[in-house]
């Protein structure tokens, strides 16, 4: 479905939305279901329709609440039964500059303008506070775009009586609010308008005829931008950028032109373009994107190319380098296996349209942007929103290091006499403790990102996690694993609801990056010990099958649980009697 790729095909999305929706819904997708309230200061119908398409495209099946026309503030502040009983997972407040009740007048003073600004901001922040209080959910708020005229000309942006100035200040206050509230996100409407072209974007015909605050053609872009935030919150971001080399990371063909012949660096304009692109990719790495190489080349030539003094990206920046003469779809699968990640978390960039098509045909899950001209590369990747940042956990910042440490572990394993010797030689230490505020973000992220070792596949937002932590009814533990090669960070989460002397598990998951290290044993040992202290006699485990979690179907049996019941859909229930539980004592030192 090319219509969703940047630059989105608005015409098709608007005209054929009914057919496109049908097609998306007919796919066999492991949908994430979410309830989304759209509170508008203008007409929102088309925005909701398009948002639905983009969410479906990202594997999220939404149900919507839509405020009555322009009732965003009333709905949020005073509430209404329908919205209250809707229990939104996400509230999207779609307002624009026309929803600002009053602007400074040219005859007014600076002080009056400041007072008005304060009052206007409070009107909005009261609303956000109210929503947060009531729903503890993710809130997305548009910033304000600029009016398409400037009464004071150029001074409109610098004079405190100018509307542009007023809006710029209001936006700054909004950003500070967002910075202080982790589940609150700004949708950058102002950027979207500028990127589209303010004059066309704010064609007043759409306001006066239909009360849309933007032109119809701009709606799919707005919807994509909001959907990018939502899919990022629910862990649907891409994780890996798989790069071709020749004419993708540098100009020319290293095998033919030699290292000194490739175009990279300040000497020629083309070289500058590639240098800037490499710099951008390096920055993507710094926000947690895993870089890999998939190139048709002799390996030595590829490495020599990357060691060119003007290459910002060095071989060490990539967590996997496949430079060979295999077909690229085979390399794709090899890299995915190596990293233990699904191919649907991959983005593939290649200047060669045939290679792009091969990957598209071989695997529909991989995103393959149309890398046409090197001067467009950054924009193509940037606007596609593959790696939309909604939270940067410490894990994101050091992800590449962790994967590299993994590669060193694999080498150690190859050298070790037995697997047990290998585990001992890792000198592992686990921290297994109740949920803590500093890890909420990572814990929520794990519930959304873990697909394979995930027994219940319950997806949680940060506020859901905070709710469990605060509740007396829940027993929750996170597990962090370190070894001599480095810190794996938080890799496992278990959480259960206490019912009398039974603990009913709602979350049980582990990151695949620490499979077969004994971490699952360490988690159960600790869970059993903590549960017993609380007077719990039995742990009840639940397994709900998903297309990806087949590897843990028999998990409870392996851990010593007794089978209780199962149904036709494959859901199973298991029980562990704590009276005769014997700790599994894996070779991990446990800190509580």
């Amino acid at each position: 479905m090319g219509c969703f790729d940047y630059p989105v095909d608005s015409k098709t999305l608007l005209r054929k939305k009914i057919r496109i929706k049908k097609e998306l819904l007919s796919g066999s997708v492991n949908w994430i279901e979410k309830r989304i309230a759209v509170l508008g200061g203008s007409t929102t119908n088309e925005i909701v329709d398009q948002l639905e398409l983009f969410l479906l495209f990202n594997g999220i099946r939404p149900t919507f609440y839509q405020s009555e026309y322009a009732q965003f503030w009333q709905d949020a502040v005073f509430g209404n039964e329908e919205l209250d009983s809707f229990h939104p997972d996400v509230v999207f407040i779609h307002t624009n500059w026309r929803n600002i009740p009053a602007f400074p007048t040219v005859s007014g003073t600076k002080e009056e303008a400041a007072e008005l600004l304060d009052g206007t901001f409070r009107r909005f922040s009261t609303m956000w506070d109210k929503l947060n209080e009531k729903f503890h959910c993710t809130i997305i708020q548009n910033n304000f775009d600029r009016p398409y005229w400037r009464l004071l000309g150029n001074s409109d942006i610098s004079d405190s009586r100018g509307r542009s100035n007023f809006i710029a200040k209001l936006n700054l206050m909004l950003y500070e609010y967002a910075d202080a509230h982790p589940a609150f996100f700004v949708n950058d409407l102002d950027f979207l308008a500028a990127d589209y072209g303010l004059a066309a974007w704010s064609n007043p015909l759409y306001w006066h005829m239909y009360k849309y605050c933007l032109c119809l053609d701009g709606v799919p872009r707005l919807a994509k931008s909001v959907a990018d935030i939502i899919k990022s919150v629910y862990g649907k971001n891409k994780k890996v950028l798989m790069c071709d080399l020749d004419n993708t990371l540098w100009g020319g063909v290293v095998g033919d032109d030699g290292v000194e012949g490739i175009q990279i660096g300040p000497e020629v304009p083309v070289g500058q373009i590639y240098a800037e692109f490499q710099q951008y990719l390096k920055e993507l790495k710094s926000i947690g994107v895993l870089l890999t190489v998939n190139s048709k080349n002799e390996e030595q030539n590829a490495l020599d190319g990357l060691r060119h003094p003007d290459c910002t990206l060095k071989p060490e920046d990539f967590v996997s380098i496949k430079a060979n003469w295999e077909n690229k779809d085979r390399n794709l699968r090899a890299i995915a296996d190596e990293l233990n990640l699904g191919t649907d978390s991959f983005v593939f960039i290649d200047d060669n349209p045939t290679e792009r098509e091969i990957i598209r045909q071989a695997d529909h899950g991989v995103a393959v942007p149309e890398m046409d001209q090197p001067e467009n590369y950054i924009r193509l990747i940037d606007r596609s929103g593959y790696f939309e940042v909604t939270a940067l956990s410490a894990d994101d910042l050091s992800r590449a290091d962790m994967y590299q440490a993994n590669a060193r572990r694999v080498r150690l394993q190859e050298a070790a006499g037995s697997y047990e010797d290998f585990l001992k030689s890792l000198q592992m230490t686990a921290t297994i403790r109740p949920f803590e505020a500093i890890y909420m973000q990572r814990i929520a992220q794990l519930t959304n990102k873990s697909n394979q070792f995930n027994l219940t596949t319950l997806r949680c937002s940060e506020s859901d996690i905070a709710g469990m932590q605060a509740s007396e009814e829940y027993l929750c533990l996170y597990g962090k694993l370190e070894d001599k090669f480095g810190d794996n960070g938080v890799v496992s989460v278990v959480s259960g609801r206490i019912e009398k002397d039974e603990l009913h598990m709602v979350l049980w998951l582990m990151s695949c990056r620490v499979l077969k290290r004994g971490m699952e044993d360490a988690m159960l040992d600790t869970l059993a010990a903590v549960a017993e202290e609380k007077g719990i006699k039995k742990i009840i485990g639940y397994y709900y099958p998903s297309p990806k979690n087949g590897m843990v179907k028999e998990f409870y049996r392996r851990m010593g649980f007794a089978f209780l019941s199962g149904d036709d859909a494959g859901n199973t229930t298991w029980e562990l009697d704590l009276c005769d539980y014997k700790p599994k004592a894996p070779p991990i030192e446990i800190r509580k």
Binding site: R15, K17, I18, R19, E46, Y212, L216, D217
Partner: protein, 80 residues
Amino acid sequence: MSREEIYERLNEVFRDVFGEDDITVNDETTAADIDGWDSLRHISLLAAVEDEFDIEFSMGQTVKMKNVGEMVDYIEEEAE
């Protein structure tokens, strides 16, 4: 462009916008004849027609048109 050609392309637009493969419109067709042709869908329809024939409706025209026939009149005038 002949009226016939316009209708051929216009029918495709209607089928896409309303998601029904068997819609056929004529001079007398109005919003009352087609399921789901409300004011909101009307906006999508006009945008799709503008795009299909590379024309633009002004505010005045969109309010004035009473049936599909009048829409086709306008397309005939504007499109080459």
